[in-house]
């Protein structure tokens, strides 16, 4: 296995003085499903954005498939970026645009600007867009406005857009943080599928350790911009968890994949009944 991504001594200091990434060195092998975990503000987003230089690193090196990203010229950077797909917490679709045009945007890096201005996508690109929308199960929504879709559907458009790039690497910045648990699993399964079937390396930041354990082949935890843990998902025990998230943290589950009701203890069930009773409304809170 060859390293698809090598990060050496990466540092990002924002003008405000925040050291978001503080000397991270990593090697990611082709085909891995890497899950980034850590508290809010631990540098996950900054690290992901330094990889494709949406955020300009302060120092250090990022090498993608043998090409030095950090030293690349603007044109070289665009050629590198088009092989790195990215999906975002807020989906980042053009809300007023159609699902199809949002998907086609994934091909922009391969096509000249005049074609964008004339608004004439290549026939093969349109065919590929339908293909990719079909893969994530929303080909029938191709002509709907992006903001008419549900959150989970919008994220699937985001994945289809990234697939249009024929990426070797997929960066996912908290792709399910705005979604409910059931939808989270459906989106994560599409990421799992492109990782397993297409062999696309995935680096995905997540808030829920249960999701990290279920989908990751490797978990990297960040704490104050530095790597606090790097290993197999099942190696994170109670002690490691407290190291990463702090002494007061308690692990919460995002819930099972199928939407079965979770077994509740008798007390919990009683409290839930109290809370939902209109006459006693809110008593459980007090």
């Amino acid at each position: 296995m060859a390293a698809v991504l090598a990060i050496q001594d990466l540092v990002k200091v924002y003008p405000s003085g925040t050291r978001a990434v503080n000397g991270v060195s990593l090697e990611i092998q082709r085909g891995e499903f890497v899950v980034l975990i850590g508290l809010s503000g631990s540098g996950k987003s900054s690290l992901l954005r330094c990889i494709n230089r949406l955020v300009e690193p302060t120092s250090g090196r990022v090498v993608f498939d043998g090409a030095d990203v950090t030293r690349a010229s603007r044109a070289e950077l665009r050629r590198i970026r088009r092989r790195i797909g990215m999906v975002f917490q807020q989906f980042n679709l053009v809300r007023r645009g159609s699902v199809l045009s949002n998907t086609l945007a994934g091909r922009l890096g391969y096509r000249p600007a005049w074609r964008t201005i004339l608004g004439r996508p290549l026939r093969e690109d349109v065919a590929a867009a339908f293909e990719n929308l079909g893969r994530v199960g929303i080909a029938d929504k191709a002509f709907a406005r992006a903001d008419a879709l549900s959150g989970g559907q919008q994220q699937r458009v985001g994945i289809a857009r990234a697939l249009m790039q024929h990426p070797d690497l997929m960066l996912a910045d908290e792709p399910v943080a705005s979604l409910d648990p059931a939808t989270s699993h459906s989106v994560m399964k599409y990421l799992e599928e492109i990782n397993k079937k297409d062999g696309i390396t995935v680096i995905c930041s997540l808030h829920f350790l249960s999701l990290a354990r279920r989908y990751g082949t490797r978990v990297i935890a960040l704490k104050a911009g530095a790597v606090a843990f790097d290993g197999r998902p099942d190696a994170i025990d109670e002690r490691r968890f407290k190291e990463i998230y702090g002494e007061d943290a308690v692990e919460v589950e995002i819930g099972p994949e199928r939407s079965q009701p979770q077994p509740m203890s008798a007390t919990e069930a009683a409290l839930a009944a109290l809370a939902s009773d209109p006459d006693l409304g809110g008593i459980a809170d007090r």
Binding site: N52, L54, R78, R79, I80, R81, R82, R83, I84, G85, M86, F88, Q90, F91, N92, L93, V94, R95, R96, G97, A105, G106, R107, L108, G109, Y110, A113, T116, I117, G158, R161, A162, M164, Q165, L171
Partner: protein
């Protein structure tokens, strides 16, 4: 009020014993305001002794004795376009043409005046500052002053009026357009940049769809304002129905002036209504 602190042996905060109505800062503001009004009245010498209520009442009466002869050509040399309604239509189009000229200049400049487009390096950052400064300077000169200057440069008439209005609106529309760009959701920009698209493609794909509606809304708002301003331009030599109004007042033809004022009021009200309706549907 202080019991909470007294009961716990804590120092009572000074804020509790203050009456905000008699706070010294408030008293100073009131005193300063009164001082400004007093000095203003002294130095501006407002003098109502030369007012003539009976004459004024007569003029106001005449303003409502509308002289409908201005609605038809007075002699064989005049055409429809010399009549009051002809000049009203000309005036509306003065406002429209001025808006169009302003759009042509302000539209491309607005991208150079948007902070989120121009950040990156020192050169683009410098261009941003210069463009926004130019917008501000242009806006700070009142339209009527610009018309007077353009009247000197180009001669009294429609050219001075239209170009002066257009000039002023480059400043106004430029600022509004730039702020519309600065107000867009940065998410799609980031996402399209990440696909490897170049700057032109990013603007075309991620910025344009987000600014079309605000642009149309601002443009209609300014079109409305410009048609409203256009009659006044004539008073200082900018062409249109304003000249007719100016002439009839000078010739003491208050019946004609009254009718012209009425026509302007109706036109402006209609523009205002139409503009509000269209913009409401856009949001």
């Amino acid at each position: 009020m202080a019991e909470y602190f007294v009961a716990r042996g804590l120092p009572v905060p000074a804020e509790l014993s203050q009456n905000p109505l008699t706070h010294w800062r408030r008293l100073i503001v009131i005193a300063l305001s009164l001082g400004v009004v007093y000095i203003g009245l002294r130095i501006t010498k407002i003098d109502l002794s030369s007012a003539n209520p009976e004459y004024a009442a007569g003029v106001i009466g005449q303003l409502f004795h509308w002289d409908f002869s201005i609605l038809t050509p007075r002699d064989e040399f005049e055409t429809f376009w010399d009549t009051a309604e002809g000049q009203m239509i000309v005036t509306i189009f003065l406002g429209i043409i001025a808006t169009v000229f302003a759009i042509i200049v302000a539209l491309p400049l607005s991208f150079l005046g948007a902070r989120n487009i121009m950040t990156g390096n020192v050169l683009t950052g410098g261009i941003y500052v210069v463009v926004r400064l130019v917008f501000t300077i242009i806006r700070s000169i009142d339209v009527l002053i610009v018309v007077i200057i353009f009247g000197v440069l180009l001669g009294i008439g429609s050219a001075a009026g239209v170009l002066a209005l257009a000039f002023h609106n480059v400043g106004v529309l430029g600022k509004l357009y730039s702020e519309a760009i600065e107000g867009i959701d940065p998410g799609p920009l980031e996402a399209i940049t990440a696909t490897g698209a170049n700057r032109v493609q990013v603007i075309w794909t991620a910025v344009l769809p987000q600014i079309v509606n605000p642009y149309i809304s601002f443009t209609i708002y300014r079109l409305d304002t410009n048609v409203r301003l256009a009659p006044i331009l004539g008073l200082v030599g900018g062409g249109g129905i304003g000249i007719l109004l100016f002439q009839s007042v000078n010739l003491l033809q208050y019946g004609a002036a009254g009718l012209i004022i009425f026509m302007i009021v109706v036109t402006v009200a209609l523009m205002d209504f139409a503009s509000a309706q269209i913009r409401r549907r856009l949001v």
